[in-house]
Amino acid sequence: MQQFLNTALTGLTLGMVYAAFALALVLIWRSTRIVNFAQAPMAMTTTFVALVVIDAGFSYWLGFVAALLSGLVLGAVLERVVVRPVEGKAEINAVILTLGLFIVLHGLAAVVFGNRYRSFPAPFGLEGLSVGGTTIALNGFGIFTIVSVLLVMALLVALFRFTDVGLRMRASAFNQEVARLLGVKVGSMLTLGWALASLVGSLAGLLIAGGSLVHPSYMDSVVVFGFVAAVLGGLDSPLGAVVGGLVLGLSLSFVSGYVGSQLVALAALVILMLVLTLRPGGLFAQAPERRV
């Protein structure tokens, strides 16, 4: 029973991070139809920004905020400068572009931050909390992870549902031509979409790094899990991304806990194949848009 509970808690924490990462992918896919493979090295880069700030003697929280803000800026700049020229062109252009960005950011990070493992602090204890005398697999940082991802998600929902900017972002994502006709500055909305996605990705990067080691490639496996989670949810649905992330986190945790940790990556791919075979549109597939 205790092992079950602990495995579930580990899966929940991990699933939250995958959910955040998947959400970053979905935000970009929805508005620009681009799968942003560079999301992983982008998040890695901003985590290193946090590390530089912390190593300079500032607090963890200042580093945390610096990483999120630099994520916002990095996303906006990349969309404006690098991605804008391929928007609306053949899909393969964008795929190759984001893969290229992946390699470039990796290379730059190795040059600037060093190609070695460095430890990254956590703001809260990593000791498991004890409940009724037993120690459970949920620590202060785990709670922080869950709360911060939920908070960011709630803010995003509020932005999209209840603000005018969110309304115009949704309109731009659904139909750029019509949105333009209605006076929406579609270009700015796409930039903002990339910036927000990059911010959410940065959060995932910080949460993975907390209390662990960072290296220019430390996020690379997460992009695979985040992608699987996003596809699970249907790539188009933010809610789907969150549920996909949680399902994947829990499944992988149980595989790791009860079958064998070496099978985790394999299990992720099996889940991906099952979903693509049984429900190609993802668990939250919406009916294809009707073209009148």
Binding site: A171, E177, V186
Partner: protein
Amino acid sequence: MTELELSGITVRFGGLTALQDVGLAVGPHQVHGVIGPNGAGKTTLFNVACGFVQPDSGHVVRRGERVERLRPRDLPGLGMARTLQGLGLFDRMTVLDNVMVGADHHARSGFLGSLLALPRAGADERALRDRALRVLDDLGVASYADRFPPSLPYPIRKRVALARALVSEPDLLLLDEPASGLSAGEMDELGDLVRALTARMSVLLVEHHMDLVMRVCDEITVLDFGKVIAHGTPDEVRNDPAVLAAYLGEDVH
């Protein structure tokens, strides 16, 4: 002063000349119709008027001022709005949200204001919502405000699309085939609606249905093979030999 003037418009697509030296003028509180057989260039002319297509020569004049390189997103700022043949409603947004996207962008608070949900942004948000609801109500479809377009019958969706164009309070409305897919009764209602709109704005109309065009238009421009072949009041156009020849066999009356 004319609300909109298109003068000397020529558009070529590769070797094909879609429009050649086409001109028309829409006066204040007028309904101006553009008709012509299929492939005559009506839609291309419309696309020039809303900035989807840049003409190879000629220009768009709005209230006496030349508009250089008109872009679609400039329309609301110029007091213009356009509906689309395919309606172009956002399927996964409610009817109310659809209309709110079209609402006047001047009234909006900036980027940061809305992001931080400042009180002013909240007030703007309510103002936009009220205005969108009022326009839906004017068109008799306010009861569908919370529904999603794919779940609604086509005539209702057409009204929603029209509401979205009207919510920015344009004084020049471009209507692209507003009658397609409507029954005879619905078309009569549409005719009355378009006439009523002239109290507040001018209308440029592209339409296939001759009876509607003849009934609502003050002036008509007839295109054939990318050129203007006739222009005048419905009565003049109806009896023009060139028009009868172009529509050979079709019912112009």
